[in-house]
Amino acid sequence: MSTSQDFNMPQSNDGRMLRLLASGWIFLLLLVLICIFTGLRPSQFASAYNMQQLAINAALILVLAAGQTYVIIAAGIDLSIGSVLVFCSVVSAQVMLALSGDSGTTFGTTSAGWGVILIGVFASIVTGILWGLLNGFLVSVAKIPALIVTLGTMGMALGGAQILSGGVDVRAMPELLVTEIGSGRLFGIPVLVLIAVVCVIVAGLVLRFTRFGLHVYAVGSNDEGARRSGIKVTQRMMTVYAISGAMAGIAAVMANARFATTTINGHAMDNLTTISAVVLGGTSLFGGSGGIFGTVIGVFIPIILLNGFVILGIPPFWQTVAMGAVLILAVWIDQLKRRLRKRG
């Protein structure tokens, strides 16, 4: 069966074909990966323990990627999320440390209660939103390209985190945060996973069903057209970046809880990880189309690849190669999709 025949499919099949290409194939890829790894190492890969670990490892990136999905659908890009996460985690950790009164101990856990933790969470999210608003302002009001703006704030946020912390990770986290949220469970499900699920579902529903969500698509699809239609494009863009920042703030709390320390030297690749997850999930880098469901799958693909490869004992470099290949495949299929659509 030649490729040219595939391209010449009868018109009536286009709709189904398009839907399949949209995010169906990546879902299929995920299932295929799971089947392969399960088939080869059933007792190890498919164990309840491993599945749970996969979900926990995905949790943080899922939250970040949900924010990134908004930004990319609005035809923007946010390279700063990893650094904003680091900045928020330092602010949050320092606020909690200062409030807990256990000053002096920069190592180990503190006995801070839920009140202090709540303030820490609040500080983290507000800090994230502020970074997001700065991004949004520079992109939509100062009209600086998003790539440059977020590249700039990426450096600023990381540098800021290093200034605040003196480059030394804050290692004194509230014991409660680490045990109850970081490794705690609710109804048998890890709390980190629950947080991620709630964030993703809310983000998905808002994007799919609300006026604001529709405006995000409209702005990404044709911002000038959206403006002429009376949509407050500047305000929408600010909100979109603020959402991304808020998600980074939430993820920062999750990171603090999970690692029991800030992770200043980590998260350098979070921006590219989330962008490739969003693209894998069928959201176009040109904006205007896509969705959260695809992103969720896009997040799990590299995580499952890594996990499966480690379990199979495949040399580490192959995971990097495989991931790169999958990403290119994803973008290629996006192009095919567009060509098919244009032909209509």
Partner: protein
């Protein structure tokens, strides 16, 4: 049709991948080695040392590594290793605190855990720590430096931002020892994060401020490579003595061509081998000391054959 092709291609490549898996000859037991980062010559040399010794000992060794030397990147790898339930896991923890929880889980699920090269702040569940004495390495560097500059002049350290136990220990060991030389003026540490470009900038700007700088100690290879670049740019090669930690190929080459005057080398292959020895001992039910020290040596420019011996080369790849 189209999708079918993708699926079959995937299945095909996956089954190919499955064919290339290392053979399962688990005579003695299964060991997982988790390195600090992919593609580092040091860790590759360590991996080669471990693989060679594992072969001798009849261990079934599998090696994995994260993309970055960072906890968020490494923890998923450790989790995956946990799922495979090896008899022993040797891990280079990339963060002394963040790795405690995942490594503890690994230990709780019946795997004997040992750390290698780096360590963590809670070692209650760790069988042994295969380490080099980084503070001692820093001292060696200070002694070598004092000798090279006739025990007088301005000196500086290029290291990573605080937070890495090993790097911090090298710096503090150096600082401790250099105090013993009253005519040496220590102008303090400068930080770079595995970024040669940054290290080069540090050197050139320090030379502007202190044209009479006598020597530089870099606590790792990336800093050393950058520092040499900076010295070359400033025309100060040889004039400013360069002492560097590690024996990466670039550093050994620089030692031979006169850009570096002394190296403080670890022996990663020996560390890897030591970890495998420890693994066998653990499988045999023996108890080990909390710390297993491995060697550390000073190599000066007049010992090229020694440099060759210690060079971090992944001989097995």
């Amino acid at each position: 049709m189209f999708t079918k092709k993708i699926v079959s291609a995937l299945v095909l490549s996956a089954s190919l991948a499955a064919l290339t898996l290392p053979s399962q000859a688990a005579d003695k037991g299964t060991v997982s080695l988790v390195l600090g980062v992919k593609g580092s010559p040091f860790y590759q040399a360590l991996q080669c040392g471990a693989m060679a010794r594992a072969e001798e000992l009849g261990l079934d060794l599998s090696v994995s590594a994260p993309d970055q030397f960072a906890a968020d990147s490494q923890i998923p790898v450790v989790n995956a290793v946990t799922a495979t339930k090896p008899d022993v896991a040797a891990i280079v923890p990339t963060d002394m605190q963040a790795l405690i929880q995942p490594m503890k889980e690994l230990a709780e699920r019946g795997t004997k855990v040992l750390t290698i090269d780096q360590t963590i702040s809670d070692t209650s569940f760790v069988e042994t720590q295969v380490l080099t004495d980084n503070a001692e390495g820093g001292k060696l560097a200070a002694d070598a430096m004092a000798k090279l500059i006739g025990e007088k002049g301005k000196v500086m350290v290029i290291t990573q931002p605080p937070g890495s136990l090993a790097q911090d220990a090298r710096t503090s060991g150096f600082e401790e020892e250099i105090k013993k030389f009253p005519n040496i003026e220590y102008i303090g540490p400068q930080y770079q994060s595995d970024d040669p470009q940054k290290a080069a900038e540090i050197v050139t700007s320090t030379l502007s401020a202190h044209p009479d700088l006598a020597a530089i100690f870099s606590t790792n290879d990336q800093g050393a490579i950058g520092a040499i670049t900076g010295l070359r740019q400033a025309g100060a090669i040889g004039k400013v003595k360069m002492i560097a930690y590690d024996a990466a190929s670039a550093e050994v080459a620089a030692l031979k061509n006169g850009a570096i005057q002394a190296l403080i080398a670890q022996n990663p292959a020996a560390e890897g081998a030591a970890a495998m020895d420890a693994a066998v001992a653990l499988i045999d039910g023996k108890t080990l000391d909390k710390v297993t020290m491995t060697e550390i040596v000073t190599i000066t420019a007049d010992q090229p054959e020694l440099a060759d011996k210690y060079e971090y080369i992944a001989s097995c790849m």
